[in-house]
């Protein structure tokens, strides 16, 4: 009977909040020490960064209540003890960050183009959109509309591309680069896998060459060498020259990604299509490419993220994208010394776009894994 009286302790909780904390944060001594140390560091860091970015920061007015028009009026420059970030520089220069030096009278055209871009992307990103087919027609004609809207023509006054800047240039470079590189990449990928030795060799050489050199050398190529290659009288716009370089660069990477997708298609698909008497193009367009592109969408999004980040390189050849406008603002004596605010803002804008794209690619990967069974497992 004595044994019965001995009460056993209940098992240590492994569920609920306490259980979760115990397993994930305080599993053993070292683990608990690490957790406490990390919490201490965060306790030091988070209040400081929140204070700098929000609580003691100037947004439009300094602590005296004056509207800030140059860096001398920032709270932290008036009184170093009393002030954090000076976001007023972003507020004052917001127009340039978003539109560059686009004339103010015509800026509605950029706004319409931004809105149309969102509309054009919608059917590409969301497959279950009602009436997706009609939205897709719009997506196909959008580049033409955007060209006339932004550049001028068809009754719109012309706005030369050296007045474009900021987010506008970043988006134009990113979107055009990706959109043009996609078909070229498909052709290169098919070419590299072609049975015709000359074509396959040429495509391979092109792809490996582009992938072996840095983008900056291609941008220099577009800027200094391309004008030498063209006959007299053809004067290429600076933005177009950069776009040529960016597109060449991106199409080589796109080609490799799509080639990966092509390699994943089981040979039975080719054989079945051929046995139905399909020609090479018919087989690729109707059978092979739809499947190959579908499985290579996540890596396509990933290389697109890479390109989007790489568009910042154009500042080296003198095109003012978002980062270029930021650097230009810093060179202005009115806003000297506000580098942290400006770089923080530019980073944040890029982060929002690229992080959004990477989340989207993860979502696609999950959907593809559950949606179709490629017969791999």
């Amino acid at each position: 009977m004595n044994e019965m009286n001995e009460v056993r302790k209940p098992p240590v909780a492994t569920t609920g909040i306490i259980g979760w904390l115990r397993i994930n944060l305080f599993f053993n001594w070292t683990n608990s020490l690490i957790t406490l140390f990390v919490i201490y560091c965060l306790y030091q860091f988070i209040p400081w960064i929140l204070d700098w970015t929000i609580f003691s920061a100037d947004f439009k007015y300094n602590y005296l209540g004056e509207q800030i028009t140059n860096q001398e009026m920032c709270s932290r420059n008036l009184d170093p003890e009393n002030g954090g970030a000076c976001w007023a520089v972003i507020y004052v220069r917001f127009y340039q960050f978003i539109y560059g030096f686009y004339p103010k009278v015509e800026v509605w055209r950029v706004n319409v183009a931004y809105a149309m871009l969102a509309l054009a992307l919608l059917p590409l990103l969301y497959a279950k959109l009602p009436y997706r087919k009609y939205f897709l027609y719009f997506t196909y004609i959008f580049p033409v509309i955007a060209y006339f809207l932004l550049n001028g023509g068809l009754g719109f006054t012309e706005v030369s591309t050296n007045k474009w800047g900021g987010l506008l240039v970043t988006l134009v470079l990113g979107c055009t680069g990706i959109a043009l590189a996609f078909p070229i990449g498909i052709m290169l990928a098919l070419g590299r896998r072609s049975k015709l030795p000359v074509i396959s060799m040429m495509c391979t050489l092109f792809i490996e060459f582009i992938r072996g050199v840095p983008l900056i050398t291609l941008l220099f190529f577009g800027m200094v060498m391309l004008p030498l290659f063209l006959p007299e009288g053809i004067d290429m716009d600076g933005l177009v020259r950069v776009l040529v370089a960016v597109t060449l660069f991106q199409s080589a990477y796109m080609a490799e990604v799509i080639r990966g997708g092509l390699q994943a298609i089981p040979p039975g698909q080719y054989e079945a299509a051929k046995s139905l008497g399909m020609s090479y193009w018919r087989m690729n367009l109707l059978i092979i490419l739809p499947q190959a592109i579908r499985i290579s969408i996540p890596p396509i999004v990933n290389t697109s993220i890479g390109l989007f980040k790489d568009t910042t390189l154009v500042i080296i050849v003198g095109i003012l994208d978002l980062l270029g406008i930021g650097r230009g603002t810093l060179a202005d004596t009115n806003w000297l010394g506000l580098s942290y605010e400006i770089y923080f803002f530019v980073s944040l804008v890029f982060f929002i776009f690229t992080f959004g794209m990477s989340r989207y690619s993860l979502y696609l990967e999950k959907k593809l894994k559950t949606g179709i069974n490629m017969g791999a497992d």
Binding site: I23, N24, L25, F27, N31, I34, T35, V38, I39, K195, L196, P197, V198, I199, M202, F209, R211, G212, V213, P214, L215, I216, T217, F220, F221, V224, M225, P227, L228, F229, L230, P231, E232, I305, K309, D310, T312, L313, I315, I316, L323, R327, S339, Y340, Y343, V346, S347, F350, F351, T354, F355, S358
Partner: protein
């Protein structure tokens, strides 16, 4: 139905026809480009040929740690300084990124939720912000450091200011070559001991203290030799003279910014590769090795890492290639690498864009090919071997 097309439906004929067509069009395009280019060059009075490489450069390079550079030196020397600077930042960046990436990748898998989340936040931030922006940001932090007169001091020998990091420069005296020979011999012999010990363990099961004997060989013997020879090594300390330090070893802020940005950015990608590699090793492997009584550290070193490396090495190679290519962004902060020195300033001075860009591109291509060649050899050595 196809018969009326005649010989055109013959696959062999079509293949030859299309390939000839492509080659013909390509040749025509090339001819057109060559003729317009030579016309344009002539009209703009731009010289051609490679003789410009022997002309004096006429500008200074602020950072050339390996070879002395004067403004009277040739453009060819600018090229070599550029290649060495590109290689310097690429190699140091790759090493730092690998170490940091492996540590972060393993921490990311740690059972401590807070720690792994912290690394996750770091990875997402540094992956999703353009590298160029990070380089410029690091540079702007470094040049906002105190001026030379108020430079920060560490251990009384290192000085950090907005002109860079000043540290003592080692001066090797005559006897030091013996010490370095001893170190090299020790490295070779510990490598041989390692191989012999492995063979003996495979055959007899007996273990040999490889680690401690290697430490003894590499550190203790050269150290004893060093003192016997009367410490043939002295340091030249940087001294503040006028507005700047004189003497010592200078590491310029451009290099530090490039090194920090490249290694931190690439480490984020490498940590994800390492994480995926370790996760690809099946759980059974860990359980089996625990069941036969291996220690935790041994499980990682002997079972998990060798298998994970097979998955890690191919994408790691492409990260090394990316880092090397990304080192070309040094131009944004004025780091005198290949693109900035030779492809930038030399090109502008001589105007010979085609020659300069061709050399720069060819150099990057050969660096890329060399890296993939060696990484492929390494990759083959760690893959599964069919016995």
């Amino acid at each position: 139905m196809r018969s009326n097309l005649g010989f055109f439906s013959d696959e062999k004929f079509r293949s030859i026809f299309f390939q000839t067509l492509v080659v013909g069009l390509f040749a025509l395009g090339l001819l057109f480009v060559i003729s317009t280019t030579s016309y344009n060059l002539e009209k703009r009075n731009i010289a051609t040929g490679w003789s410009f490489l022997q002309n004096p450069a006429g500008f200074d390079i602020s950072f050339s740690p390996f070879i002395e550079f004067k403004s009277t030196d040739t453009h060819l020397k600018v090229y070599f300084v550029g290649v060495l600077n590109t290689l310097l930042v690429s190699v140091t960046g790759c090493i730092a990124a690998t170490i940091l990436g492996f540590i972060l990748g393993i921490i990311r898998l740690s059972s401590n939720w807070l720690l792994s989340r912290l690394v996750y936040v770091y990875v997402e931030f540094s992956r999703n912000v353009p590298l160029l922006l990070q380089i410029i940001l690091w540079y702007s932090i470094l040049i906002q450091l105190p001026r030379v007169k108020q430079s920060l001091q560490f251990l009384d020998v290192f000085y950090i200011s907005n002109r860079g990091l000043y540290s003592p420069r080692p001066i090797f005296e005559s006897g030091f070559s013996y010490v370095s020979i001893a170190i090299v011999l020790a490295l070779i012999s510990s490598f041989l001991i390692n191989r012999w010990a492995k063979k003996r363990q495979d055959n007899t099961g007996q273990q040999f203290p490889v680690f401690s004997s290697s430490i003894g060989l590499i550190f203790i013997i050269p150290l004893i030799l060093f003192f016997i020879l009367g410490s043939p090594l002295s340091f030249e300390h940087p001294e503040l003279k006028g507005f700047n330090f004189k003497g010592g070893l200078v590491i310029r802020p451009e290099f530090i910014a490039m090194f920090l940005a490249l290694s931190i950015y690439t480490a984020a990608f490498i940590s994800e590769i390492v994480r995926a590699g370790i996760m690809s090793v099946s759980k059974g492997q860990r359980e089996a090795s625990a069941a036969i009584g291996l220690k935790q550290t041994w499980i990682m070193r002997l079972i998990i890492i060798p298998q994970a490396l097979r998955v890690i090495v191919p994408p790691l190679t492409s990260q090394y290639l990316n880092l090397t290519k990304n080192s070309s962004l040094g131009i944004a902060v004025g780091y005198a690498d290949l693109v900035h020195g030779f492809g930038g300033i030399s090109l502008n001075q001589t105007g010979q864009a085609i020659e300069c860009m061709a050399i720069v591109m060819a150099t990057y291509l050969s660096i890329s090919l060399t890296i993939s060649f060696f990484m492929n050899i390494y990759n083959r050595s760690i893959q599964f071997k069919e016995k």
